[in-house]
Symmetry: C2
Subunit: 263 residues, 2 copies
């Protein structure tokens, strides 16, 4: 039995998230159907984390075990030949026995993209949060610095998860204006976007979307920057801003300690 | 009765093209339902040209007549409030009585986008032609110059249209490497694309897609550049290359003679 580490990019628009569900297309069920077709085995995959409906991934990591004797190159080509065009395997390697994409993860990075003001771009509606008014990205960036370091992020956790602790270590948070996601913009459309990158040793349920919804309250000027610090200290979800919509969120990267992921 | 000139950007992915069809969502039927809702009138729209299923527009122009007394600003906001996120009105103005978006058009510009080689980007699958191998864009650009000027383009017309003549004047054709359409690319994905712009006084059915499919034969090296000139002279659709898929095509601009479009 070999253990594999798979890296995937996907457009989550047409899926009900990562996790298999009855009667709804998901990334996991689509992937597992292809693994079965290629290997002939009923394979169960584990992802570094579940992405919700409409959330995207640039480099999701999944692990699985198989008895296949095919090389990783052949497997990669076969998977991509059968996967739909909105899911792409970008890497596959054999991992150490017992490698588990959730348990071995030491750090993850998410990106959230907002376009603010201007006419919404019809090519981006499934890929950004189109905010109706202009946001102060500089103020949002300063406010976000309150989140750096190890804190109890209970204020930014949507209930319904069974995690033991809501303490996480935010290693990096960066708010900046980057290019628009889609190369074409018409006269009334903004050709830039706000890119919010957050890297942490782990994330609570909806943590990035709750942080972004909170930062947007600062960006539109209804809360001061220091309010983000107050929300954090309150450890109370009701104190934070709304949950930003799913389609602006991208899982960018998952890091593993080197000695636990490669064979 | 007032005549209006409407400019629209739309993502054609989820539509069966511009023209109304029974039981299928189209741009025209979606737009006309919104016009009816806003004005209370049953309004018939005319577009500068029909886009096929999956084809996009950055600036399609449509004309219609209405008895509404609402200002163009109010109409624009109301249309966008009711239109789905993949169709956006980018401009509306009152036109001279009798302005007709097809008849008054004097020039149109289309763009076709190809990504060549590398792993396909899952975020671009509905918006580019993902060509499996690398193409020689410089050779394609030279070959495309054979199309400049007034010619009979019958070799590049898909049958089924009822146009009287297949003579058109190609005013500009430009093949270059531009940025990829979507800002995110993973390690194996190309971060650039081939942009093919064609401007003419009018286009035959599938003309751009047939030209692009023909240029791709030159780009992959199976035909010399001069072959495009031979195909053109043959006036025979069977001599040309295959029809490129719809999702890489964008209607970029429609020009009208100034004295016939504004009131």
């Amino acid at each position: 039995m070999r253990t594999f580490k798979l890296t995937l990019a996907y457009d989550g628009t047409n899926y009900a998230g990562w996790q298999s569900q009855p009667d709804r297309p998901t990334i996991q069920s689509t992937l597992e159907a292809v693994l079965r077709r290629v290997t002939g085995e009923q394979i169960r995959t584990v992802a570094s984390g579940r992405t919700d409906a409409g959330v995207h991934a640039l480099a999701q990591v999944a692990s699985f075990q198989s008895e296949t004797q095919l090389t990783t190159d052949v497997l990669c080509r076969a998977f991509n030949a059968y996967l739909p065009a909105d899911i792409v395997v970008t890497g596959i390697e054999q991992a150490t026995t017992g490698f588990h994409a959730i348990r071995a993860a030491i750090r993850k990075r998410y990106r959230y993209v907002i376009t603010d003001g201007g006419s919404p771009n019809p090519f981006e509606h499934s890929h950004v949060w189109s905010y109706p008014t202009r946001l102060d990205a500089v103020a949002m960036g300063r406010a976000a610095k309150y989140l750096l370091g190890e804190h109890d992020f209970a204020s930014f956790e949507t209930s319904g998860s069974d995690r033991k602790t809501s303490i996480r270590n935010v290693l990096e948070v960066d708010v900046r204006r980057g290019p628009a996601l889609f190369a074409f913009a018409t006269a009334n459309q903004v050709s830039e976007a706000i890119w919010i990158d957050i890297e942490a040793d782990g994330f609570l349920y909806n943590m990035v979307r709750n942080i972004v919804g909170t930062l947007a309250e600062v960006g539109r000027g209804v809360q001061p920057e220091s309010w983000v610090g107050e929300v954090l200290c309150a450890c109370d979800r009701r104190k934070a801003g709304p949950t930003a919509p799913p389609q602006g969120l991208y899982l960018v990267r998952v890091d593993y300690s080197p000695n636990r992921s490669n064979s």
